[in-house]
């Protein structure tokens, strides 16, 4: 089974100056433009778009980065899309490279004292939400129907027990759309940031009526061979371990579904399950299935784990790492003590921190300070954020080193088309005689010439890129080669 995954992260921006409160949205947009222009026009971090990519992406709105990923302004957020990765460590490094890119840009602009990028998915004031989207490449033959999607929904609804990023409070904004039975009780803390905003099991749009499985069919690759599974319900993880386990387990479950070897179970009410699990800090996590039986979320995950163990053990070291870590995680979660998984799970790590603070400082959960600490956990500035010291001290496990994350700013991941894209970007950046280019996820074009299509995301296209620029050099002179 091949692994190919990418993550898109929409960042929030915290402006510390209290005087800016009333005009914060305008100030945010100004700052986004400053950061983008600094990175693309001064620092040379990538190639700014010269063409209109979509109705809401005019020229100059963003661009592709040296690592083959992408940075742009989208719906009032700076969004970083990591390049397609073929290994879990690559994805983790590329994801964290986005944090580093933005944090360093603020430092270089002298703004890090004034603002921070926040890698979370909610604010506590306006009930806004913004995403961390996962993309998985699967074969076109993937059963994108009831047989395939029922078990996927079950897995996704329950994986938050280790993948959730945790949040203070709750949002009942979507109860206007979809009333839930019973009341809307006060929630001090819950395990997922996005759970309250999911109102559909399946839907194609991304900004309203968010769903557990997004049904948009936009493969950004050869549509006859590939489908891109696009997921909106996940949280932005600070934890490298949680991110690695989240994407690793999800890919294994997609693989089980491809092979027809997934547990065949379905939920009575998937949307209510997502919310109910998130609000249940007892860690009992009882779920109702469509046949009326009840079962624990940990048991459901164990069923998926056992099927994956049987199907994929020994296939690769990545796969074995996922299986070992998944098994250990479920065993620890079954003991119903958040502290046991706080070194690997964001919601548990944050809960332990906030509980410590609450006891030590005598601050109750209803105090807005707790919301502020919730944000601080996701602050990507190492000087002010709460998460990075835990990782630095070895309290929270990490998968990749700081030097590897820095390298991921510069080099694309090996063995996917992002490698070829990264190479092409470098060649264009290094050649001041190239003024006209189009970079897309699925291809490259220079000077309105031949288009180099990259329709197979599992190929590096390194050789093709070299040949492409060699031809360019022969046709237009050595300076065009990008060498």
């Amino acid at each position: 089974m091949k692994f190919l995954c990418g993550i898109e992260t929409e960042f929030g921006l915290l402006i510390r100056d209290p005087e800016v409160k009333g005009a914060s949205m305008i100030r945010q947009e100004e700052l986004f433009r400053k950061v983008r222009d600094h990175l693309f026009r001064k620092k040379g971090s990538g190639l700014i778009d010269l063409h209109q990519r979509a109705y809401d992406e005019p020229p100059g709105n963003g661009g592709f980065l040296r690592n083959g990923g992408r940075l742009y302004v989208d719906m009032g957020h700076v969004e970083y899309a990591a390049p397609e990765c073929g290994a879990i460590l690559d994805l983790v490094a590329m994801d964290r490279a986005g944090d580093l890119l933005l944090t360093e840009a603020l430092e270089e602009l002298g703004l890090s004292g004034e603002v921070s990028f926040i890698k979370n998915n909610i604010d506590h004031q306006t009930l806004a939400t913004f995403g961390s989207h996962e993309n998985y490449s699967v074969p076109r033959s993937f059963p994108f129907n009831e047989r395939g999607l029922d078990p996927l929904v079950v897995f996704l609804a329950t994986r938050q027990i280790f993948a959730g990023a945790g949040r203070v409070g709750a949002s009942y904004v979507n109860d206007v759309i979809l009333p839930f039975p019973g009341e809307s009780p006060a929630v001090s803390y819950q395990i997922s940031q996005r759970a309250d905003y999911v109102v559909n099991t399946f839907y194609q749009w991304v900004q309203m009526n968010r769903s557990i499985v997004n049904t948009r069919d936009e493969p950004l690759a050869d549509p006859l061979q590939f489908r891109r599974i696009h997921l909106l319900l996940g949280d932005s993880n600070m934890s490298q371990f949680a991110l690695g386990l989240k994407v690793g387990t999800t890919r294994l479950v997609l693989g089980l579904i491809e092979r027809g070897e997934s547990p065949q179970i379905s939920l009575a009410d998937p949307v209510a399950t997502v919310r109910g699990l998130s609000h249940d800090l007892s860690m009992e996590w009882v779920v109702e299935l469509s046949d009326g039986k009840t079962i624990g979320a940990v048991e459901i995950q164990e069923q998926f784990y056992e099927a994956a163990e049987k199907a994929f053990r020994g296939e690769s070291d990545d796969t074995d790492w996922v299986l070992d870590s998944w098994r250990e995680m479920l065993a620890d979660l079954s003991k119903k003590d958040p502290a046991l998984v706080a070194d690997r799970v964001d919601w548990a790590q944050k809960l332990v921190l906030l509980n410590d603070f609450s006891r030590e400082a005598g601050v109750g959960w209803e105090d807005p300070w707790m919301e502020s600490l919730d944000l601080a956990y996701h602050d990507t500035n190492p000087a002010t954020g709460l998460f990075y010291p835990l990782e630095e001290e070895g309290v929270h496990r990490r998968l990749v080193s700081p030097s590897a994350i820095r390298q991921a700013l510069r080099d694309g991941p090996v063995g996917t088309r992002a490698q070829g894209r990264s190479l092409a970007i470098r060649k264009i950046l290094d050649n001041p005689q190239i003024f006209d280019y189009i970079i897309q996820w699925f291809g490259v074009q220079v000077d309105e010439g031949e288009i180099l299509y990259m329709l197979d995301p599992y190929r590096s296209y390194r050789q093709e890129v070299e040949e492409y620029f060699s031809r360019l050099s022969r046709e237009k002179g050595p300076g065009k080669a990008g060498d």
Binding site: E10, G12, I15, R16, P18, V20, K21, S24, D74, M75, G76, A87, I88, L89, D90, V92, A93, D123, H124, Q125, T126, A128, F130, H133, Q207, L232, F241, S316, D317, D318, D320, W321, D324, S325, F357, A361, D367, W369, S372, L373, D374, L375, A376, L386, P389, E392, E393, G394, V395, L399, S401, P402, A404, Q407, A408, D411, G412, V414, G415, Q419
Partner: protein, 77 residues
């Protein structure tokens, strides 16, 4: 760039980076496993959890209690 040159933690030297960009598509250095003291279980630099806990409490006390009131975002995707 490969997985192995990004490993962190006990027994993994950051200086040992093996020809990342020279690898062919099929070459991939494997993700170390926890059995081998792999990257997901780094030895804590500080073996006594108390000091880090205290430092985290201090850091949390420095967080502006009102900052969440100023954090107002547009809804995204």
């Amino acid at each position: 760039m490969t997985g192995a040159n990004r490993t962190a933690g006990a027994g993994v030297s950051e200086g040992r980076i093996h020809g990342a960009l020279g690898l062919e598509d099929q070459d991939r250095v494997p993700l170390p496993t926890r059995k081998g003291g792999g990257p997901d279980a780094p030895a804590p630099k500080n073996l006594d959890p108390k000091p880090i806990r205290d430092r985290m409490i201090d850091r949390m006390k420095k967080v502006d209690p009102k900052q969440s009131e100023r954090y107002r975002q547009r809804t995204g995707e």
